[in-house]
């Protein structure tokens, strides 16, 4: 068996031979028992190999891989520092510094709470939707502002390595009350303006991870966080719609526990 024979066997086994040449090649191989046996061997091996199921990373492995690489490549210095500090203190360190565009965000958010109630107090879904949308838009604007600033005023609003130091964050108003009823009334009555003391960026992924462990908050997402307690920043307030009702709840992220919950 020479090199040409091997090429021919490989081409046949891998179906790489042009269709017009297959018949002649098969005939040539069939006329030589040694070549025919080699072709059969190659085909048997290929059949066994290609039957192997695909391999892929699990979701947890993927997340770990990304996080490790980001840390090793210094793509997220603030996250690393915050995580280390959080591990030490277990509390405030998980909260990020207010975004550079915070005032603009607060204005938009407050605008949402002031304007939307005029649509009617019973229209909780519309309230929720509008507020959430504006929160998202405002948060996006804030991120963009940060990115541009970090890029040294570059015109392209791209997320830079420096800007990406912040984890996926959303900006929510801080409110100076720890009573859910008061907060709820403020939210409904549009008087958040008087309670607002700026805004705070929170780590969306962390909020989501906690919410998912609380069955009472089934149906809620990180985007449903509408405010943060200014005095105990681990406490977040959520409003979301579940089963046709608007649910308001407060959650202590430090312990990932439900503090209060009401439905209307």
């Amino acid at each position: 068996m020479n090199e040409r024979d091997i090429d021919l066997i490989l081409a046949l086994a891998e179906n790489r031979l042009p269709a017009a040449e297959v018949a002649a090649a098969e005939a040539r191989i069939a006329g030589n028992p040694e070549l025919a046996a080699e072709l059969a061997t190659q085909r048997a091996a290929i059949a066994a190999i290609v039957a192997a199921p695909p391999v892929s990373l699990t979701a947890a492995e993927r997340t770990d891989l990304h996080q490790t690489l980001r840390t090793e490549l210094n793509l997220e210095p603030a996250v690393t520092a915050a995580a280390a500090q959080s591990a030490a203190s277990g509390g405030w360190a998980r909260w990020l510094a207010p975004l550079a565009g915070g005032l603009a965000v607060a204005a938009v958010v407050i605008g949402a709470f002031v304007v939307v109630p005029s649509m009617g107090g019973s229209d909780d879904v519309a309230f929720e939707s509008a507020a959430t949308t504006m929160l998202e838009d405002a948060a996006a604007d804030g991120e963009e502002t940060d990115a541009t600033a970090a890029a040294g005023g570059a015109e392209t609003p791209t997320t830079t390595v420096a800007a990406a130091a912040a984890p996926r964050a959303m900006s929510v108003p801080r409110i100076g009350a720890d009573d859910l009823a008061e907060v709820d009334e403020a939210l409904r009555g549009g008087s958040l303006l008087s309670l607002s003391a700026g805004d705070t960026a929170i780590a969306q992924d962390e909020v989501l991870a906690c919410i998912e462990t609380l069955p009472e908050l089934a149906g809620a997402g990180a985007d449903d966080v509408v405010a943060v307690n200014a005095d105990a920043a681990d406490v977040v307030y959520l409003r979301f719609v579940a089963g046709g009702h608007t649910v308001t709840a407060s959650v202590d992220l430090a312990t990932c526990s439900l503090l209060e919950i009401s439905s209307s």
Partner: protein, 191 residues
């Protein structure tokens, strides 16, 4: 160049300019294939994860050295294979250090069957009995669907060498899997 190649080149440029989103996109595009190659080259999942991580660390740390004349994927998979070879050599050194002289060689087929849950145990065992070079040819061409030329680029060897390794590797595999008679030739590599 293919669309994927153009996209990868653009993403590398963006990454080098500091765009972290480009890092995420590159990872999403290539991480599963890199892991699959590592998983099939290494002896267990943890080792494959380590090799995958080291591969991407090398690639992103040396991204500025990437020359766009070659496909990014070729460069990436070459780094992947080199990383796997490095890890395999380290594994072998550790095993050699640990084992007494009279110790029998490990039965990879048995030892790996529990770890390699993604592959059929008998195939995994057979693959692990191949030399690293033979296994690399099978993994890249038969499992990852590379052409002979692509595999040759990735392994940095002539195409003829890949052909030779592939031919002999399959022959050994078929024998190990019980499909064929014992190979008549020693599994050494043709030049």
């Amino acid at each position: 160049m293919t669309d994927r190649t153009h996209l990868d080149v653009a993403l590398i440029e963006r990454y080098l300019e500091g765009d972290v989103d480009a890092f995420d996109e590159l990872m999403r595009a290539h991480e599963d294939r890199v892991f699959a190659i590592c998983m099939r080259m290494m002896r267990d999942r943890d080792a494959a994860l380590d090799a995958t991580q080291d591969t991407f660390l090398t690639v992103f740390r040396k991204a500025d050295r990437y020359k766009a004349e070659a496909a990014f994927s070729t460069w990436l998979y070459r780094v992947t294979m080199n990383t796997c070879y490095d890890h395999l050599r380290r594994q072998q050194r550790k095993q050699a250090d640990r084992l007494p002289e009279s110790h029998d060689p490990p039965d990879h087929a048995a030892a790996s069957s529990l770890d390699a849950v993604e592959l059929r145990p008998e195939l995994e065992g057979a693959l692990l009995q191949l030399s690293d070079d033979f296994r690399a040819a099978v993994v890249l061409v038969d499992m990852e669907g590379m052409s002979l030329d692509q595999a040759a680029d990735t392994l940095d060897v002539p195409t003829g060498t890949v052909k030779s390794r592939l031919f002999r590797a399959r022959k050994q595999l078929a024998h190990i899997l019980g499909n064929r008679d014992t190979p008549s030739e020693h599994p050494t590599e043709a030049p």
